[in-house]
Subunit: 459 residues, 2 copies
């Protein structure tokens, strides 16, 4: 029996999984390596971060996705380095030899060299989303307990850095959480008075969209009480606030919750490939998506600077998916002996359009043919995202969660798990809810800023 080529795919995201699936039935052995056991529908990750969806609604075991593809195996492992000369991938605890290598490890947050990872978490993994969820809902808990009005205001201020799709979607959801989800749940704070600020360095949000959609998105955010601050750069972030500059004027905004949606950088594995990279670390690939000196190595998705018809392919799910399918087909044809590396087709990206949602009944959709906003765009966004979700059950479930949230203005997944960090000291609370301050300070009533908590007097 002839030896089958061994195809190693690093990364089980849209690109890697599409490549593996395109190899179904081909005379190859496929090993897909990922350090997580699940494929993630990343475009909906912000919905987990804002408690509208559960992690397993948007994640699916890679192993189950490839269970029926008999020529594929899945390995839970982290790729540490690549030896392109020896055709060898070094894992955290072992190694893989390959005949073909597909690198699809995607991108991670970039803080532009700053040390802001702890104070301003980004959104790339389920763990990131749960950490953001924890911080957001704990901030309301902290505000409820806080007796210092300045600190309370900081707890109720949420800052999002970056006005791309993730930033816009996070900010819109944060606005709605205050306005609707938590409106009646607290006694000492009024969640509808929450402040959400979105900082964007450019002159409009959603810069990749037509200007009229940027404007529509901004209006829609403002309807959700989100302050959109354009042409503004963040210069410092610490535990109690951010410092920004706009037209050379510096300003400090007090906040305890900063979310980072401003920059991404290609995963560090790219450095091992020995190929040229752009400023964001993306690997420059040939038209067929292989490396200039290594036709057996393909780089796809957010890790690659993919060019189609002279234009750079945007770092979105569609680009990764189409890239994965493209290289999977090339490898399958060569393994069957039906094609040679010298005659590979160039990758052509089919732009099916971009969409982002701002919240309840509001989204923007831009395609080559039309661009719309509002309810129609939102319905379209909804249908498209449901359709792309991996797994039929997930589609039904997500539809159910969303339908329910829409009808009831609630969010079902408001769990705070993990350690509860330090919260404001609440001093002593007496029988009528008055706060007894330490060191003999004057006692103030917690009821002062309560909207409507007066219970009927005893009958």
């Amino acid at each position: 029996m002839e030896r089958r080529p061994h195809v190693v795919i690093i990364g089980g995201g849209f690109g890697g999984l599409a490549a593996a699936r395109a190899l179904a039935g081909a005379p190859v052995n496929v090993t897909l390596v990922d350090r997580r056991n699940h494929h993630l529908f990343q475009p909906l990750l912000y919905q987990v971060a804002t408690a509208a969806l559960n992690p397993s609604d948007i994640a699916y075991p890679i192993r189950a996705a490839l269970a029926k593809q008999r020529n594929a195996r899945v390995l839970l492992a982290e790729a540490r380095s690549i030896d392109v000369a020896k055709r060898h991938v070094v894992l955290d605890d072992g190694a893989l030899d390959y005949d073909y290598l597909v690198v699809a490890t995607g991108a991670t947050h970039s803080y532009f060299g700053k040390d802001w990872g702890q104070v301003a978490p980004g959104l790339k993994s389920i763990e990131d989303a749960l950490e953001i969820r924890r911080r957001v809902f704990l901030a309301y808990e902290a505000a409820e307990r806080e007796s210092d009005p300045v600190a309370q205001r900081e707890w109720l201020t949420f800052v999002v850095v970056g006005g791309g799709p993730t930033g816009v979607e996070l900010a819109g959801a944060l606005g709605e959480i205050g306005l609707h989800t938590l409106a009646h749940d607290f006694r000492s704070i009024d969640p509808t008075q929450v402040r959400v600020v979105l900082f964007e360095g450019g002159d409009r949000v959603l810069a990749a969209y037509p200007p009229k959609l940027s404007l529509a998105a901004r209006r829609s955010l403002e309807n959700r009480h989100v302050e959109v601050r354009l042409n503004t750069l963040v210069t410092a972030i610490d535990a109690t606030g951010v410092t920004v500059t706009c037209a050379d004027v510096a300003e400090r905004v007090g906040t305890r919750t900063v979310l980072w949606a401003a920059g991404v950088q290609a995963s560090p594995l790219a450095a091992d490939l020995g190929a040229a990279r752009d400023r964001a670390g993306r690997v420059e690939v040939r038209p067929d998506l292989s490396l200039p000196d290594h036709p057996e190595i393909f780089v796809i998705g957010d890790l690659a600077k993919m060019i189609s018809d002279g234009v750079q392919v945007p770092g979105v799910a569609q680009g990764a998916l189409q890239g994965g399918k493209h290289v999977g087909k090339i490898i399958a044809a060569e393994a069957r002996g039906a094609a040679k590396p010298a005659n590979r087709p160039a990758f052509r990206y089919h732009d099916k359009g971009n969409m982002a949602t701002i919240g309840r009944a509001s989204a923007v959709v831009a395609t080559k043919r039309f661009s719309i906003s509002g309810l129609t765009a939102w319905l379209l966004w909804w249908v498209v995202h449901i359709m792309f979700l991996v797994g039929f059950k997930n589609r039904l479930l997500v539809m159910f969660h969303w339908g329910w949230n829409w009808l009831t203005f609630t969010r079902g997944a408001r769990l705070i798990t993990g350690e509860v960090g330090p919260l404001p000291e609440i001093k002593t609370i007496g029988p009528d809810g008055e706060v007894v301050l330490p060191q003999g300070a004057t006692s103030v009533s917690l009821g002062d800023n309560v909207k409507d908590s007066a219970a009927p007097p005893p009958s």
Copy 2:
């Protein structure tokens, strides 16, 4: 305006939440303190641990559960100690004065003085459930990579200690995961060959049930390939196995996954109350559930040794729920001036029966009037658990998850989140899946123990 009594409730489980709700409309101020933000439907926690349900399917924000009860406030805080003389609860960062105190902090795992917490996690919180889920599914991943057959066998052996409802339910689910859920997902292992062992010190599982149901449960477990080992005590647990003794004969079972369902102990707060306690730390209360010397303090649920008609109330959800309702009514009546502490009614437990599920279409149900097992019991179990879940949406969702899992033999929530710990080294895997062992050892094929992975030869 007359000062309203301040009722402090510690713990937002079945007991605490029932007490708070029974005080709705009463002329009191209620403060419910919990260190978590969610009420947990603990009887279904094992379903989260075994990936059938999502955390938020069985957990509900306490704050949302009491949002409409205007005389109640919710505080996310941990009660550290109680000063019964000063009527004062010390929190991790503050304090509360009370007129009435309801202590409902429940129970935690007990390892009978052994240091087995790390090697044998128990199941009390969402975090516990996710940790167990992580360990179970990682064990399969590790087995898939393991080339040493002894170690592989250890990874595929799951030990449950304790044959009460939690132990039986966990063992049954673990058996089904191997037999059905993962049957086709791996290439180097055959998940249906998984070994699940349930150790119980007594002479039957489900000792609180009639003997014929214990027998039915045991048969049902054995149908799921669970080895039920009765009259067997665990004497040692370490990272690669457990040591047990049965009839003075010691035996070691190699395993990498041990789950603890053997013992519980009342929460440590009980010690502050100055009242007599039994061996498991439960507080001895008067017939009205208050403390002998402190009529203003009530202890309910798993923390209390509640007696009804001369019989000890079992540590189940119904007992806590009914206890909470009972003390809530007493406090409401006294706050209204309609009753005096001297004339309080005694608590009477209404036993609505016990039920446990062993798996797909198999459960046992015991009430005063009848005891059944099998499919009918399972349907009854299903209806009752759905009905008791807090929140209408949760009911629909859980029904959906279960229906789906039942139809498809899958489990939707198979995510491994958090850190992936050390897994077996996989050495070098060559193009045909052969393992290249270090130090020039003979190369073995990973395909040797694969059931059905032969792909068609290249055409």
